[in-house]
C-alpha cells in the first residue's frame, strides 16, 4: 500500500471509499485488493545493441526494460524467443529492434510480421515506419492483406523490407509462393504477435499454416528466427512450440513499471425473498439485480464525484443500455446532477466513435460504456476508473480492462461487477485466481485430423510432397493422409518419389480458418452485410437452426432460413431487437468409445481419454424472456435430423456402489426403498451437476469458451456399464481440450467442488452461479447440488 493519506469521502477512488459512499450500498463489496506500484527495471541499450543502434535508441526511447534486453540477447544467440509479459510492456520493440539489427547486418534482409486483426496491422504499420525513421533506418514496412489493392501487391512483395499480414492471408499467398521468392529467400525473422490468441480450431489451422510456411521458406533456403509475443499464459513454451514446431526460449520476467490501483470485487444484490428452494434457472436470473444496471449505478456515482470512468460491457446492446441506465441513475442519485455519458461500440459510425473518443480524451464526458472495442489499442487517453460488467472470459482480457484506468501517480480504481455465472461467482469466492499466478493454458489440438488433412492438400499443391516432409507433417500420419487423398483422387504419386496435387486448382481457398468440418454454413444477412466466419455443421445445428436467436459482435440476430441440402449450405439471418433468448432441447448419446489413455484411480474409479461418436438430436426449441425467463412461445420442433460428431472425449467412471452411497447419505434411506425417479433426481442429478460444473469451470484453466465443450452423464452407460460422465470436444475431430481436462482433472474437480460448496443458492437444484447451464439440452433437469458434492468428493479422494 502506498503511504498516501486516505482520499476524502467525496472522491471514492478506492474500494473502501466506494463502499463508504455508494448510496445503494447493501454489502456488495466482497473483496478489496490494492495492487501496489512497481518501478520499472531498466538496461542500458549499449549492453545489448551495437553502438550505433544503441545510441539512437538511448536518444529516442531511453533505456530498455529488462525483458526487452533479455529477449534481444537470446535472439542474438540465435534462439527463437517467446516474450510473455503484460500488455503495453513494449513487446513490439523486441522484434522491431531485431529487424533493425538484421537490416544493419544485411540491407536485403526481410521480415514477416503476423497480427491477428487487420486493424492492428494498419496501426502497427504506421508505428513501425515512424520508429525506423526515428532511428534513421531506411526500412519500409508495408501491410499486405485482403484490403491491399491488386495493383500495389507486386510492388510490395518485391520492395518491402517488412511485410505485415495475417494467417488467413498467408494461407492463400502460399499457393503463389514463387511470386514472393525474393522476399522468402531473404527472410530472417518471423514475428507472431498476440500468439496466445491462436487456440482452438483457429489455432490448429494457424499451426499447420505455419508449418506450410516454414516448409516453403526452407525451399528458398530460409529458416527465419521466430519471435512470439504473448499475453501471460500458463504454457508459453509449450504453446509456442505446438504453434510453430520450433523450441522457444521464454522471456517472462516483466521489467515494465506498473501503477498503483484498487480493485473492488462487487456482487450485485440478490433479492432472496423471491427465491424458493426449488427456484429454477429463470427465477435466479430474475432475482439478481441486472449486473448492467448495477454497474451503471456505480458509473453514475463515480462520474458525479468527478471520477472519469470507462465501463466495459459484453454486448453492444448492453453498452447502449448502460449509458441510459447511468443517466437515469444519476438523476435519482442523492447529489443528483447531470451525467454526460456515451456508448461506444463497433456498430456505431466512425464519426460518432471519433467524436466520443475526442470528448472523452478532452474530459467533456464523465463516462463511456463500451464493448471490448476499446480494449485493444485505441487511444482515448487515461481515466480514473474502469468497471468490468462480468468476467471478460480470460485473465488476460480481465487485466487489459483493469489496466485502462490510472493516470500518472494518482490512484486508480477498477470495479469488477460479477454476473450470476459460475466463473464470475468463482472469482468473487476466490479473487486470488485472477490476482495470483495461476493462469490459463492456451491449447492447440494438433491431433484433429479433418483440419490436418486439408493442410496436407495445400502443402502438396505448394510443392510436391516427399518422404522428407514427414518431418513437417507429423511422421507416419502423413502417409495415412496421402493414401486417403490418393484414394479420393486428389493426390497422385508416392512419397518415395513425389506426391502431386491433382484436385481442382487452389485448395487453399477451400479452407475456412475457423471451422473443422467439411460441411460449413455460410452466414448471410437479409438486410445488411454481416462479417461472420462460416459455421461448423455441429454449431449450426445447435445454435443456428431456423428460429434461433444469437449474438454476434454484440448484435442480436434471428435465423430465418437454414439450407443444408445444397453444395454450399447457408443460414440466413435478420437483425432483431428482442429481450429473448433461445433454449434448445436435445437428446444425446455417446457410443463407440475408444480409450487412448486411461488412469485407474482405484476403488472402481477410472479416468479415460480417447475418441468416440457423439450423436446429438436437437429436437425442439423455444424462446424465453431474458428478464423473466418465462417462455414467450410454445416448444417448436427444429425440423433437424440427428447429427453425429466423431470427436475426442474424456470420461469418468465411478463404481456402481456410489449410487447407493450417495442415496443413503442424502435421503437417509436405503436405496431399495427408492423409486427410479428418486434415483434419477438425486444420483443422476449429482452426476449431471458434476458434468455441468466441470465444463463451466474449465475456462479457468484453458483459454476457451465453454461452448467448445459438451457433456453427457448417465447412471449406467451401455459401454462402460457403470455410472459415467463424459465431456467431449464440440467439434468434429476434436480440439484438444478434453485431453487437457483429462490431464488436469484434479484441479478442475477441486475448483468445481469449491464453487458448488460455496454457492449461496438455496435448495439443491443449483443455480446459474454453480451447476445450472443455459446450454443444457435437458432444461437443467435433474440437478442436485448435495449429490454433486458427494460425487466430486469421492472422485477427488481417488485423485
Amino acid at each position: 500500500m502506498s503511504s498516501d493519506p486516505d482520499p476524502p469521502e467525496y472522491a471514492p477512488i478506492t474500494a473502501r471509499g466506494l463502499e463508504r459512499t455508494f448510496p445503494q450500498y447493501e454489502g456488495q463489496l466482497q473483496h478489496a485488493e490494492s495492487v501496489s506500484a512497481q518501478a520499472g527495471a531498466y538496461v542500458d541499450p549499449h549492453e545489448v545493441l551495437g553502438a550505433g543502434l544503441a545510441d539512437s535508441i538511448s536518444e529516442s526511447v531511453g533505456d530498455l526494460y529488462t525483458h526487452q534486453a533479455s529477449a534481444l540477447r537470446h535472439l542474438a544467440d540465435g534462439d527463437d524467443v517467446c516474450v510473455a509479459t503484460s500488455t503495453s510492456s513494449g513487446k513490439t520493440y523486441v522484434y522491431a529492434l531485431q529487424i533493425a539489427r538484421n537490416y544493419l547486418a544485411d540491407p536485403d534482409s526481410t521480415a514477416l510480421l503476423v497480427y491477428p486483426t487487420k486493424a492492428l496491422s494498419r496501426d502497427q504499420e504506421q508505428e513501425l515506419n515512424e520508429f525506423f525513421s526515428t532511428l534513421g533506418l531506411n526500412i519500409s514496412v508495408r501491410v499486405y492483406d485482403g484490403d491491399t489493392p491488386q495493383n500495389r501487391r507486386k510492388q510490395i512483395r518485391e520492395t518491402a523490407d517488412v511485410i505485415i499480414t495475417n494467417f488467413v492471408g498467408i494461407n492463400v499467398y502460399l499457393a503463389h509462393h514463387t511470386r514472393w521468392h525474393t522476399f522468402w529467400a531473404n527472410c530472417d525473422l518471423l514475428a507472431i504477435d498476440e500468439s496466445h490468441t491462436y487456440t482452438g480450431v483457429h489455432g490448429m489451422h494457424v499451426a499447420w499454416t505455419i508449418r506450410r510456411l516454414r516448409r516453403i521458406l526452407e525451399h528458398y533456403d530460409s529458416d527465419p528466427q521466430i519471435v512470439c509475443t504473448s499475453a501471460t499464459i500458463g504454457n508459453p513454451s509449450e504453446h509456442s512450440r505446438r504453434l510453430t514446431g520450433k523450441s522457444f526460449t521464454v522471456v517472462d520476467e516483466d521489467g515494465s513499471p506498473r501503477g498503483k490501483r484498487d480493485i473492488a470485487f462487487w456482487k450485485p444484490p440478490v433479492d432472496d425473498g423471491l427465491l424458493g428452494p426449488d427456484a429454477d434457472f429463470e427465477e435466479f436470473q430474475q432475482a439478481q439485480t441486472n449486473p448492467v444496471r448495477e454497474a451503471s449505478s456505480v458509473l453514475a456515482h463515480l462520474g458525479l464525484n468527478g471520477t472519469q470512468t470507462l465501463m466495459f460491457t459484453r454486448s453492444r446492446k448492453n453498452a447502449e443500455l448502460g449509458a441510459k441506465y447511468a443517466s437515469n441513475a444519476a438523476s435519482s442519485h442523492p447529489n443528483s446532477g447531470y451525467l454526460s455519458v456515451e456508448p461506444y461500440h463497433a456498430g456505431l459510425g466512425k464519426e460518432t466513435r471519433r467524436g466520443t473518443e475526442y470528448q472523452f480524451k478532452s474530459e467533456q464526458l464523465d463516462g463511456v460504456t463500451s464493448t471490448n472495442a476499446l480494449e485493444l489499442g485505441i487511444d482515448i487517453g487515461s481515466m480514473d476508473a474502469t468497471i468490468l460488467t462480468g468476467y471478460p472470459g480470460t485473465r488476460q482480457s480481465f487485466w487489459q480492462q483493469i489496466g485502462r484506468s490510472g493516470r500518472g501517480d494518482s490512484d486508480a480504481l477498477s470495479v469488477f461487477v460479477a454476473r450470476a455465472d459460475a466463473i464470475d461467482q468463482y472469482i468473487l469466492d476466490d479473487p486470488a485466481y485472477v490476482l495470483g499466478d495461476a493462469i490459463e493454458d492456451a491449447v492447440i489440438g494438433l491431433e484433429n485430423n479433418p483440419v490436418y488433412a486439408q493442410h496436407i492438400l495445400c502443402a502438396a499443391q505448394e510443392h510436391p510432397l516427399t518422404a522428407a516432409d514427414r518431418e513437417w507433417f507429423d511422421g507416419d500420419r502423413l502417409d495415412r493422409a496421402v493414401e486417403m487423398w490418393i484414394d479420393a483422387g486428389k493426390l497422385a504419386g508416392d512419397l518415395s518419389r513425389s506426391v502431386r496435387y491433382t484436385g481442382s486448382p487452389r485448395p487453399q481457398s477451400d479452407i475456412s480458418m475457423y471451422t473443422s468440418s467439411d460441411i460449413q454454413f455460410d452466414v448471410r444477412c437479409q438486410d445488411r452485410d454481416i462479417d461472420m466466419e462460416p459455421i461448423d455443421r455441429e454449431r449450426a445445428y445447435r445454435d443456428h437452426h431456423e428460429g434461433a436467436l444469437f449474438l454476434h459482435n454484440g448484435v442480436q440476430y434471428e435465423v430465418v432460413d437454414f439450407v443444408e441440402d445444397v453444395p454450399n449450405p447457408s443460414i440466413t439471418v435478420e437483425e432483431v431487437r428482442t429481450n429473448e433468448y433461445t433454449e434448445t432441447i436435445s437428446e444425446k448419446t455417446v457410443r463407440n468409445i475408444d480409450p487412448e489413455a486411461t488412469r485407474e484411480l482405484g476403488n472402481g474409479y477410472q479416468l479415460s481419454w480417447g475418441t468416440g461418436t457423439v450423436e446429438i438430436h436437437y429436437t425442439h426449441f423455444r424462446r424465453k424472456d431474458i428478464n423473466s425467463g418465462s417462455a414467450t412461445q410454445p416448444l417448436r420442433p427444429t425440423g433437424l435430423p440427428p447429427i453425429e460428431l466423431n470427436t475426442q472425449l474424456m470420461w469418468i467412471e465411478t463404481p456402481p456402489s456410489l449410487q447407493d452411497d450417495v442415496l443413503r447419505e442424502i435421503t437417509g434411506e436405503d436405496s431399495s426403498t427408492l423409486t427410479d425417479s428418486d434415483v434419477m433426481e438425486v444420483f443422476g442429478g449429482g452426476l449431471h451437476g458434476a458434468e455441468h460444473g466441470m465444463i463451466k469451470l474449465t475456462p479457468l484453466e484453458l483459454r476457451m469458451d465453454k461452448s467448445d465443450l459438451g457433456g453427457l452423464s448417465t447412471i449406467a452407460h451401455p459401454e462402460t456399464g457403470v455410472p459415467t460422465w463424459f465431456i467431449h470436444d464440440a467439434v468434429e475431430g476434436g480440439l484438444g481440450f478434453t485431453k487437457r481436462i483429462f490431464d488436469q482433472t484434479a484441479t478442475i474437480a477441486e475448483r468445481t467442488r469449491e464453487r458448488v460448496s460455496q454457492c449461496d443458492c438455496n435448495g439443491t437444484s443449483g443455480c446459474p452461479a454453480c451447476i445450472m447451464d443455459s446450454q443444457c439440452g435437458n432444461q437443467n433437469r435433474f440437478l442436485h447440488t448435495d449429490a454433486t458434492l458427494l460425487v466430486l468428493d469421492n472422485l477427488i479422494n481417488q485423485l
Partner: protein, 479 residues
C-alpha cells in the same frame, strides 16, 4: 482412327432445373450416343423430361431407375455393359465371347461404386467395392474392363487393386460443376469433355446471365438463332435492356450464328509478328512445363517448333531451351497465348523462378498478349463458337484440326503416369503430343489473324511495346 462413343452425364438436379431449350442446346453441343442420368433415386420426372428431348438413336441410361436397361450393348463400335445391379456383373462371364469381344475393352456402366472420404479417420473407402468385386469374379474374366460409376464425380480416376474406376459425373451440371461428357474409346481410354451451364443456351451470349435469359425467353426468344435474326430494337424495347446492351446481345448471337468475329472497339492488336505458344504440363497445378509448342509465322505457312522435355528429372529444360531460342531470335516480337494470363504465362513464370531464375528479367520484359483476355474480358471483340474455348473458336473460324484423340487433361495425365513410372509401357507417344500441341498453336494463329482482319481501324505505327499494358494485365491476375 479408333472408335469412340460419347456419354453425356447429367445430374437430376440439372435436368430438373433446365428449360427445354437449354437441354436441347446441351444435347446438340455434345451429340451423345448415351445420356447417363446420375443420382441414387428413380427420379421419374427428370427421366421423362430427358426422354422428351432425346431422339430414338440416343440411349437414356439411369442406373437408379425402377426398370433400368441392363446387359451388353455395342454402341458406335464400342462395347458397353449396362450394370444397374450386381446381378448383371455376375453375368459378365456369360457375355464374354457371346456378346463381348474379349480382345477389345468393355465399359461397365453402373451407379454401384461411391466414395466415402473420412477425414476423421484419414481413410477413403470405395463404398460397394467388395460386393462389386465379388460379383465380377475378376479371376475368371478374360476381357479388359473399365468401370464407370454414376455415383462418382467426373474427374475421379483410380485403380483399386486392378479395378480401373472412372467417375460418371454425379454432380454434372449442378451447382457450378460443369456438364461433362465421357468419350469412351475402344482402345480403353476415356476422355472427359466439359462445358459449363453458362456456355449453353441464351446464357452463352455476351451480357446474358440467368435473369436476362429468362426475360428473353418470356419475350419469346428461346434460341440464339431467334436473337440473331431479330432487330436490336425489338430487344431494346425490353425493360432494363438499353440500346448498348441490346446491341451487344444481338452481335453476340450473330457471331455465334454466323461464325464470325464481331469487333467492339478500335483498339489495335500489338504490332510486330506474333510468336504463338501453347504449353503442356502435368496438370492444373503444374510442377513441370514439359512441352512448349511455338508457331513462328502464319497459321498456314508458319514453322512449328517444339521445345520438349521427356525427362521429368530435368523440369526446367524445356523452358530454358525455349527462352534461349526466344531471346536470341524473337525477343522484339509479341508472345501470344490463348488464355495466357490465366494459365500459360503464369505457369511459365512460376517455373522460371523455380528452375531457371536467371531468365526472370528477360521474361518480365517480354511483351505478352492474350487474345482471349483482350477479346472476351476486355470486350474488344465477340468471338464465335459455342464456347470460348480455343478449339471451339478456331473450329467456328473454319480451322480443321487433326483428330489426335487427346485432351489437355489426357495429355497431362499421361505425363503424370510417365513421371511416376518410367517404363516402356508408360512412355508417352511424343510425336502425337507434339502434333496435338501444334494443332493448338495453329488454331490460335487462326483466331489471331481473324481478329487482326476484323480491325475496324488499320493499326498505325505505334511503338511496338506497351509496358503499361503489360502491367495492367498482370494486375488482373495478381493475388
Amino acid at each position: 482412327m479408333s472408335a469412340s462413343a460419347r456419354i453425356a452425364c447429367a445430374s437430376p438436379q440439372f435436368v430438373d432445373q433446365a428449360e427445354p431449350s437449354l437441354l436441347d442446346d446441351w444435347l446438340t453441343y455434345y451429340d451423345p450416343s448415351i445420356v447417363l442420368l446420375t443420382g441414387r433415386s428413380p427420379e421419374p420426372r427428370a427421366a421423362s423430361h430427358l426422354r422428351r428431348q432425346l431422339d430414338s438413336e440416343t440411349l437414356l441410361y439411369h442406373p437408379a431407375s425402377d426398370a433400368p436397361a441392363s446387359g451388353p450393348r455395342r454402341i458406335d463400335g464400342v462395347q458397353f455393359v449396362l450394370s444397374p445391379t450386381e446381378q448383371t456383373l455376375c453375368k459378365l462371364r456369360e457375355y464374354e465371347h457371346r456378346d463381348l469381344n474379349v480382345d477389345r475393352p468393355s465399359f461397365v456402366l453402373s451407379g454401384l461404386l461411391e466414395l466415402d472420404v473420412d477425414t476423421t479417420s484419414l481413410s477413403t473407402t470405395l463404398v460397394g467395392r467388395e460386393e462389386y468385386v465379388s460379383s465380377l469374379q475378376t479371376n475368371q474374366l478374360e476381357g479388359e474392363y473399365v468401370h464407370i460409376s454414376a455415383s462418382l464425380p467426373a474427374d475421379y480416376r483410380r485403380e483399386w487393386d486392378g479395378l480401373s474406376v472412372i467417375g460418371g459425373g454425379i454432380d454434372s451440371g449442378y451447382a457450378g460443376t460443369p456438364l461433362v461428357a465421357l468419350d469412351c474409346r475402344d482402345d480403353g481410354r476415356v476422355l472427359t469433355r466439359s462445358v459449363t451451364r453458362s456456355q449453353l443456351g441464351l446464357r452463352a451470349l455476351d451480357q446474358v446471365g440467368g435473369k436476362r435469359a429468362q426475360q428473353l425467353r418470356e419475350a419469346g426468344f428461346t434460341s440464339r438463332e431467334d436473337i440473331a435474326s431479330t432487330s436490336t430494337s425489338s430487344l431494346s424495347d425490353l425493360p432494363g435492356l438499353g440500346q448498348t446492351i441490346a446491341d451487344r446481345i444481338q452481335q453476340s448471337a450473330t457471331a455465334i450464328a454466323h461464325d464470325e468475329i464481331v469487333r467492339k472497339s478500335d483498339d489495335p492488336l500489338p504490332n510486330g509478328d506474333p510468336v504463338y505458344i501453347d504449353i503442356e504440363t502435368d496438370g492444373l497445378s503444374p510442377t513441370i512445363t514439359w512441352l512448349i509448342g511455338v508457331l513462328d509465322g502464319t497459321a498456314t505457312d508458319g514453322r512449328y517448333l517444339s521445345f520438349i522435355q521427356t525427362n521429368p528429372d530435368e523440369p526446367g529444360r524445356a523452358i530454358e531451351d525455349f527462352l534461349a531460342w526466344y531471346t536470341a531470335n524473337a525477343s522484339h516480337r509479341p508472345l501470344v497465348a490463348y488464355r495466357g494470363w490465366k494459365f500459360d504465362f503464369s505457369v511459365i513464370l512460376d517455373h522460371i523462378i523455380e528452375y531457371c531464375p536467371h531468365y526472370e528479367d528477360d521474361w518480365n520484359s517480354t511483351y505478352r498478349f492474350d487474345p482471349y483476355q483482350w477479346a472476351v474480358e476486355k470486350q474488344n471483340a465477340i468471338l464465335p463458337g459455342r464456347t470460348n474455348k480455343l478449339e471451339d473458336v478456331a473450329a467456328a473460324l473454319g480451322y480443321e484440326r487433326d483428330e489426335t484423340g487427346l485432351t489437355g487433361a489426357a495429355v497431362a495425365r499421361t505425363y503424370q503416369q510417365w513421371m511416376a513410372d518410367r517404363s516402356p509401357s508408360t512412355e508417352p507417344d511424343w510425336d502425337r503430343f507434339e502434333s496435338y500441341c501444334e494443332d493448338d498453336v495453329r488454331g490460335l494463329a487462326v483466331i489471331y489473324e481473324s481478329l487482326a482482319k476484323s480491325n475496324r481501324i488499320v493499326s498505325t505505327n505505334e511503338p511496338s511495346r506497351d509496358i503499361t499494358e503489360t502491367t495492367t494485365q498482370q494486375r488482373l491476375s495478381d493475388w
